[in-house]
Amino acid sequence: LGAEGLSQMPKYFFDAHDVYDLVDEVGVEFPDLQAVRRELARTMAETAVDLFPANPSLRELSIEVRDEARMVVLRAYLTFRTESGS
């Protein structure tokens, strides 16, 4: 994809479950899992902006991170909850 240069960084794959179930076949490179976590926090927030307002019944975003051996190494969740006042 794109003009990827030679890289030593491991690749991680991000399967998203929300209004879609997206299986990532392309992946993104990161130096380590800590960098993945930081990026995931941004990704969740950005996805939330797009999906929660447009999909009133959506309650949760989740992303499963797999490594190059396709093993799950991290799961991330973001929940949107509203409660009516009494």
């Binding site: 990827e4 941004r42 992303i63």
Partner: protein, 285 residues
């Protein structure tokens, strides 16, 4: 047989300002593809060709004006992909015309975050405004190996005194740059990531079509997923996701740096794209 100096391709390195590309002689009879069927600039054409196409899309350019432009645009040099063409803090004494390749204007924040604020394609002046703004408040980066021509400010200043119409056309170029900035701000502030990305692809296609580098809705897009994240102001994982959505909807394919728009009407709809801001109408300016 006309002979022109062209720069041969070479592996890009990411450490030097100037690439190691060598200069070779090449004749212009070498059976090259028709301009409308190329994805890269024909090296046998005059380095001002794309710029002239760009201007002619928006207004008449007289034979005299064409001659003046060609005199301004001489002696291309190569820049390696990843190298700065102009750096923040520079006080350029020339403005850079992109002859071949892709470049991006960018700012880097103290903690290392990078935002690309503009993309440039062949035929674009990447810093025409430096004629008046003097000190660069941002850098310009070669995204892949580029050929550029540096046009001395002294010549551009003289042109503003002798060729009023051409000066207005150059002014128009900076105004279109400004209009593109506005569209990017709208995209970052108000569009969904999918619409924002679709808009960018519509825009790049429209700009490349003007300089005959997008035959059959196909064009080179030599950027990484991380570059795209820095262009759109999104996380790279989100960019990855949105690309997959556009692919799954069969709107675009992007393989080996080559993008193909599979469904122009569908992509335009996803983007809510309106090309008015690109000023693609030929009219007196």
């Amino acid at each position: 047989m006309p002979t022109r100096l062209v720069c041969s391709s070479s592996a890009t390195n990411h450490d030097g300002r100037l690439s190691s590309c060598s200069w070779v002689h090449m004749t212009s009879h070498s059976g090259h593809l028709l301009p409308s069927h190329r994805l890269t600039v024909d090296p046998t054409q005059h380095p001002a060709s794309s710029l002239i196409l760009k201007l002619r899309r928006r207004d008449e350019v007289s034979a005299d004006e064409e001659r003046v432009i060609k005199e301004l645009v001489q002696a291309p040099v190569c820049i390696a992909g990843g190298a700065d063409i102009v750096s923040e803090g520079d006080r350029p004494i020339s403005s850079t015309l992109l002859v071949e390749g892709f470049a991006a204007r960018y700012k880097v924040l103290p903690h290392g975050g990078r935002q690309m604020t503009a993309l440039h394609v062949p035929g674009d002046f990447v810093d025409l405004h430096s004629l008046l703004l003097k000190e660069m408040d941002h850098g310009v980066l070669a995204l892949n190996e580029c050929r550029i021509v540096k046009v001395p400010h002294a010549l551009l200043r003289r042109l503003t005194e002798t060729h009023a119409h051409l000066s207005r056309l150059f002014w128009l170029l900076t105004l279109v740059d400004g209009a593109i900035h506005r569209e990017w701000v709208v995209g970052m502030g108000r569009r969904s990531a999918k619409s924002h990305m679709a808009n960018l692809f519509c825009e790049i296609y429209s700009l490349l079509e003007v300089v005959h580098l997008a035959p059959d809705f196909e064009f080179m897009l030599p950027v990484t997923q991380n570059d795209l994240a820095d262009i759109l102001g999104l996380s790279s994982v989100h960019v990855n996701r949105v690309l997959q959505e556009l692919r799954a909807s069969e709107l675009v394919s992007w393989v080996g740096g080559k993008m193909k728009i599979l469904d122009w009407a569908g992509l335009r709809d996803a983007a809510e794209f309106d090309s008015t801001y690109l000023q693609l109408q030929r009219e007196p300016r």
